[in-house]
Structure formats: structure tokens, C-alpha cells
């Protein structure tokens, strides 16, 4: 039987790297993408220089600024990032027809057939793809190679930045053994805490538990934990990974006091979302509103359309209605977000001009 080979690709400090292509003076400096200068919002991506200060993505911007006062913040040109990401994956697709793009800067590549067809080892292929991405796009990437998605992903984490690491199938168990259980996909902070409470911190220790013990403590997740601790995981790629939703949100510099004050932002966000739907040739049936009040209380509300749409006016008017019903006088809004979901393929029926 042929050995399955999965590679995990992870672009290094992706947003920052794109910003550095556009403005080379940002090189070797602590840079973050996201948030706003006034210290609101969160970090989307941090350069390695910034990470030295303890800054990481999803950290509130004010905290990041406190940790590194000379931090350089650049705005999120997300459409630009998406273009760079597409260029990278276009290159990847030349090497395998089985590619699963899991996010803007990450994805899996099934190299099982490619090594035979292209008569090269997995490492050689990864090196070549890496060189192409560097030369053609100007971005640095890390590769992890393993017998399944989990091993590949763990490997790429270790290869970072700018490296390639292959975990040979007979070395998987010994490679995993000393690792922290937190590295296993699906083990979040909660599960990790519960495992730690049982005195388990490493994967080696986790293997000490029987499948029965794990299922009795963790239910159906127990079985997965048992397998993953032994390096057994899925290698099936979801090549046509479909997006379930598109969303966009904004944290305000100054809290907004009235529904009318939210409208310009709602309009901008709705336009951007509808543009993205147009690119993907899809229509949405559900529109959701997210509101975060000044005390961080957060609500989401969803409305469903009778007919799928990507009309900015339709999306906007539904969001406005929901704002109307959910705005509490005397309260103020810190963050507003819009999400569309429940997608349908684009209607191939053409419409008269006034419908657009």
C-alpha cells in the first residue's frame, strides 16, 4: 500500500509579510496588523519582532501597545491579502490537485500521487514550492510533512519560521511523546485544563490512559484523543472546502451612542461582504448582526430572507431593522459586525437593471 503524504503549508507572519512587500521599511521592526491607533480592536497578525515582546494575534491592541510602545501598526488591507493568498495557492495547485485551503494563510496538500508523478521526494517538492512562493510572490512559508493532517500541522508548527520538517511515519510516536497535549488539534484550553487536572501534560502521559477511560471522561471526544495521541488522524482533504459564512466587524474608536451613528459603518461592511459574495458567485439567505455594548455584553441576531440575495441594500436594510430592535437607549455600542450565511450558488437567471 502506498504511504499517504500530507503537507501542511503555513505562511510566515502573513499579513505583516504582505505589508513589508508594500513598504520595505517595515522590515526587522516590530509590526502588527489590525486594530486602530487609539488602542482599540485586536491584533490580527504580529511580526516575529513584535512577538518577542509577548504580542500575539487576538491580543487587544491597547495591551500590545503597552508591551511595546514603539510598535508599528498598519491597517488591514484584507482584499490585498486575499490576492496574495490566491497567488500562493495557485502555485500550490500546480503540484497537487488535492489542496485544502483552511484559511487565508494555511492549507493542506496531498502529495501522495505527486511524489510518484513528479518523481521527487516530499521534501524536494516542499522545497520547490517554497522557492517558487518566495521568488514569484515574495512570501516566506513553512511546511510540515506527515502521514496525516494532524502530523503535518504539528510538523509545520515546529518548522516555523521559514522551514520544512518531515515527520517520518515510523518516528511519529516518539516525536509526539514529549509534546504538550495542547498541541493536539481539538485540545483547547478547557480540555487541556481537564487533562492537566488529571496530571497529564504530555502526549506520552496521555497515552497512559486507555480508550475506555478517555471515553468515560470525555465522551465521544475521548476516542479521538486516544487515536490522536498515537498519531492517528484523518488524511482526507476537503478540497472544495466551502465557506459557511462571510463576516466583517469593526470596533469603534469612540463608542457609538445612536443607531444612526452605526449606519456609515454598516453600509461599508455590507458593501464589502456583498463584494466578497460576488467574487465567490454566491448568494446568502441569512443575515446576522453582532452588537457589543460598552460593557462588552455581546448579542447576535439573525434574519432569514425569503430569497437568497447579495444586494447591498437588502443586507443593509435587514441589519438596520435588527439594530433598530436591539438598540437600547442610554447604552452605547463598542463593536458592530455583520455576517451572511446560508449560501446558495449564484442565480444564473439574469435580472433587469433596477434590481441591482
Amino acid at each position: 500500500m502506498r504511504r499517504t503524504i500530507i503537507a501542511h503549508l503555513d505562511l510566515d507572519e502573513f499579513y505583516v509579510a504582505v505589508e513589508r512587500i508594500k513598504d520595505p521599511s517595515l522590515k526587522n521592526k516590530p509590526v502588527v496588523v489590525g486594530g486602530s491607533q487609539t488602542g482599540r480592536g485586536v491584533v490580527s497578525s504580529a511580526s516575529y519582532e513584535a512577538r518577542k515582546y509577548g504580542i500575539h494575534s487576538a491580543m487587544p491592541m491597547y495591551q500590545a501597545m503597552k508591551l511595546c510602545p514603539h510598535l508599528i501598526r498598519v491597517g488591514g488591507k484584507f482584499r490585498e491579502y486575499s490576492k496574495y493568498s490566491s497567488s500562493v495557492f495557485n502555485i500550490v495547485q500546480e503540484y497537487s490537485e488535492f489542496v485544502e485551503r483552511t484559511s487565508i494563510d494555511e492549507g493542506y496538500i496531498d502529495l501522495t500521487d505527486s511524489v510518484i508523478k513528479l518523481k521527487r521526494t516530499a521534501i524536494q517538492l516542499a522545497e520547490e514550492i517554497k522557492r517558487r512562493i518566495d521568488k514569484d510572490v515574495g512570501l516566506s512559508v513553512s511546511f510540515g510533512i506527515g502521514s496525516n493532517k494532524m502530523m503535518a500541522k504539528i510538523a509545520s508548527k515546529h518548522a516555523k519560521p521559514n522551514g520544512i520538517l518531515e515527520i517520518l511515519s515510523n518516528k511519529e510516536e516518539s516525536f509526539l511523546k514529549p509534546m504538550n497535549v495542547g498541541i493536539i488539534p481539538g485540545v483547547g484550553p478547557k480540555t487541556k485544563e481537564r487533562l492537566n487536572n488529571l496530571g497529564i501534560t504530555s502526549i506520552g502521559e496521555l497515552r497512559g490512559l486507555s480508550e475506555k477511560e478517555l471515553t468515560s471522561r470525555f465522551g465521544i471526544h475521548g476516542e479521538g484523543l486516544y487515536k490522536r495521541a498515537r498519531g492517528i488522524a484523518s488524511s482526507k482533504l476537503n478540497s472544495k472546502r466551502e465557506r459557511k459564512s462571510i463576516s466583517n466587524e469593526r470596533t469603534f474608536n469612540v463608542n457609538i451612542q445612536t443607531p444612526a451613528g452605526l449606519i456609515p459603518t454598516i453600509t461599508r461592511i455590507s458593501m464589502r461582504i456583498c463584494e466578497q459574495m460576488k467574487e465567490k458567485e454566491i448568494l446568502a439567505r441569512s443575515v446576522s448582526l453582532k452588537l457589543r455594548y460598552e460593557n462588552f455584553e455581546t448579542i447576535t441576531r439573525t434574519k432569514t430572507l425569503s430569497k437568497a440575495s447579495r444586494n447591498v441594500g437588502v443586507v443593509k436594510s435587514l441589519v438596520e431593522q435588527m439594530i433598530h430592535y436591539n438598540f437600547i437607549p442610554g447604552r452605547s455600542i463598542r463593536l458592530v459586525g455583520v455576517r451572511v450565511s446560508n449560501f446558495e450558488p449564484e442565480n444564473i437567471q439574469t435580472e433587469l437593471n433596477f434590481m441591482r
Binding site: 425569503s306 444564473i348 437567471q349 439574469t350 435580472e351 433587469l352 437593471n353 433596477f354
Partner: protein, 373 residues
């Protein structure tokens, strides 16, 4: 309140009244009909707030007064009473008694004061419209009305009175039907009003004969009087899109084809169209239309060739077969003319010969052809 009437006579009116009564409503009184007797005349009213029907019949043995009664209940009992005269009365507690040859029945009615007032139209302009013409307008346009509540303007038919002439238009953005009547309406002022489809469907079912009906327009309402029944509707208070700008004037490919053959081919071939897209393809070349469909999901396909009169360059165009069939069914001449320009621009369909004093045009937006058909 008290009156006597032949069962047949009141039953007919109650059935009509019941057609606007909402099945359920946030205002429970709307599920009632209002009966009001004044000077030997019974007035029966029902409303869903948007549309109101009010009809009048002569009654005997009458005492003035009014009461509101559950429409469905009243219809249920009157519908099964034996032929002959019945007497209906109510007391000051709105307790209703129906007496007839088969027995007597009691219903707890409701206070007439709670029932919404029938609209009083002031400052309106009234014209006469022939019933047959009204029938034709509704039949030829209403099928293209949109059901999308997010575009309220498109949920009704536009009645555009301009220079004394009437043009009616309906569209859902995918197709558009326009009927222009080249005859004096007698209206003094130019007007653009949008009449809800629900109201027009009601009128269509009530129209008969070739008499004239009174068509009254005020700022907010339209009232059509048919015999002793008045039908009221609120006008849709929205701006109708500029329909004339979307009707193409440069469709240079003109096809003349027999309607019956075209329709029956479309009916057969569309059975094999994809159920979601309903896509059907027309391949038009020298005096021939190839009508084809294919559904990769089910694996089925169909294809027919029909004769036509066409000598322009070959064109391939896709349509939603349901829309195409709807349109072909509207054409009541033997032949039709279809004009096209390009595979993704609007097609137009006309009867080969327009009826006297009218111009009927239907527009259909194509489907972008995908590989499968």
C-alpha cells in the same frame, strides 16, 4: 338588528366577503364580517386592512342595527342551510340568532364598533372601465408580479394614466409584462398608481359580463364598483422603477413562430430541465428553433426542433422554462414574434398581431447558459 333574506342571496355575498378575511390576524376582529342593516338594505363588509369588500343586498322584515360575526362560522352554517328564507337577528349583547325552516342557531357575535371603518373616499376621480378590458389587463399582467416583500413596489401592477391613456405594467425583475391601451379613459389627471396583486385577483374572480365598472382613484385608495359591491384597496405607496428604460429597442433578431407548437415543445422538453434552474436552451438558426434541456443531476435530457421564420445569424439563448411557458400561454394569437439581441440581454415577445387598440409586450431575461444544456 334584524332582517330576512333568501339563503342563496346572502350566501353568495358572504362567500365573496370571506375571500379577504385573513385566516388569522393580530387583530381578531378582522376574522369577522360586519353586517349592517339600514332602511331595508343589508351591507356586508370584510377587510384585511389593505383590501376591503363592501356589498349591499335588499332585505325584508328589517330592523336597523349592526353586528360583527366570525366569517368562517357564518359561512359554514349558511352554506349548509336548506333553500328558502332565513331570518337573522342580534340583540344588544351582540348575540346572534339565525332562524330558518330547519331550525334555529345561535352565535356569539362581536361589537360592531370594533370593526374597522370602511374607507370613505373623498376627492377621488372616477372613470368607467369595461369589465372585459379590466379582465384582460389583470390576466395579461398579474402573472409577472413579484412576491418579494422587500420590493413592495413590484408586488402590484402599475396603472399609469398618461395623456388620458392607460398603460399597465408588472415585473419581478426577471420578466416584465406591459399592456398599453390606446383608448381614451376619460381621466383628467395623469396618475401612476400601484395596485396590489391580491386585490386584482379578487376583482378578476368577481368580474363578469361586459358591463362597465366604476374605477375610483383617490390619493391613497382605489375603489372598483361591480354592481352593488364595492372593492377597496390601499395603493402601494412606493415608487415604481423606470420600466421603459429596461425595455430594449435594439433587438435586431426577429423570429416569427407558431405559439401552439412552441408551447407544447417547451412543455415536453422542460420536463427534463434541471429542477433548480429550470434551464431550457433555444438554438435559433435558419428557420429553425432547437429547444433542448439536460439535467446532469438526473441524467435526463430532451430536444425538439420546430419551424420558425428566421433568417438572421445563429443565436443560442437560455431561459427559465417556467417563465417561458407562462409567457407563451399569455399570447392568444396563432403566431408570436420574439426579438433578441444577445444571449444575456432581454428578449421580447409580442403577439404577431396586436389586438385592437392595444400593445402587449412581454420581456424575459435570459439565464446564463451553463455547460449542461
Amino acid at each position: 338588528m334584524k332582517f330576512s333574506i333568501e339563503r342563496e342571496a346572502i350566501h353568495k355575498e358572504l362567500q365573496m366577503a370571506n375571500r379577504v378575511v385573513p385566516v388569522r390576524s393580530t387583530l381578531p376582529i378582522l376574522t369577522c364580517v360586519l353586517l349592517n342593516v339600514e332602511d331595508s338594505k343589508l351591507r356586508i363588509s370584510s377587510t384585511d386592512i389593505e383590501v376591503t369588500i363592501s356589498s349591499e343586498v335588499d332585505v325584508g322584515n328589517s330592523e336597523n342595527g349592526s353586528v360583527a360575526i366570525q366569517s368562517k362560522l357564518l359561512n359554514d352554517i349558511i352554506g349548509v342551510l336548506p333553500q328558502g328564507e332565513l331570518t337573522l337577528s342580534s340583540d344588544e349583547k351582540n348575540f346572534v340568532t339565525i332562524e330558518c325552516s330547519s331550525g334555529s342557531y345561535s352565535i356569539a357575535g362581536k361589537s360592531p364598533e370594533d370593526f374597522p371603518a370602511v374607507p370613505v373616499l373623498e376627492d377621488g376621480e372616477t372613470i368607467k372601465i369595461n369589465n372585459e378590458m379590466m379582465h384582460r389587463i389583470i390576466e395579461k399582467t398579474a402573472f409577472a408580479v413579484s412576491a418579494d416583500m422587500l420590493r413592495p413596489a413590484l408586488t402590484g401592477v402599475l396603472f399609469e394614466f398618461k395623456d388620458d391613456k392607460l398603460t399597465t405594467v408588472a415585473t419581478d425583475g426577471h420578466r416584465l409584462a406591459k399592456l398599453s391601451i390606446n383608448k381614451s379613459t376619460g381621466i383628467k389627471e395623469d396618475k401612476r398608481i400601484i395596485i396590489p396583486k391580491k386585490f386584482l385577483s379578487l376583482i378578476l374572480s368577481a368580474l363578469s359580463g361586459s358591463e362597465e365598472n366604476n374605477f375610483t382613484v383617490t390619493e391613497n385608495h382605489v375603489m372598483i364598483t361591480l354592481g352593488s359591491t364595492k372593492f377597496f384597496t390601499r395603493i402601494i405607496d412606493e415608487k415604481y422603477p423606470d420600466y421603459s428604460s429596461v425595455i430594449p429597442t435594439e433587438n435586431d433578431k426577429e423570429i416569427n413562430v407558431k405559439v401552439e407548437g412552441f408551447l407544447s415543445s417547451a412543455v415536453r422538453v422542460s420536463i427534463f430541465a434541471n429542477k433548480t434552474t429550470q434551464q431550457i436552451k433555444l438554438t435559433i438558426s435558419n428557420n429553425n428553433i432547437k429547444i433542448s434541456s439536460a439535467d446532469p443531476e438526473s441524467g435526463g435530457s430532451g430536444s425538439e426542433d420546430i419551424d420558425c421564420n428566421y433568417s438572421g445569424e445563429d443565436i443560442e439563448i437560455g431561459f427559465n422554462s417556467e417563465y417561458l411557458k407562462d409567457i407563451l400561454r399569455q399570447i392568444d394569437t396563432d403566431d408570436l414574434i420574439m426579438t433578441l439581441k444577445a444571449p444575456i440581454s432581454a428578449g421580447l415577445v409580442y403577439p404577431a398581431e396586436q389586438a385592437e387598440n392595444e400593445v402587449y409586450t412581454i420581456l424575459l431575461m435570459p439565464i446564463r447558459l451553463t455547460e449542461e444544456a
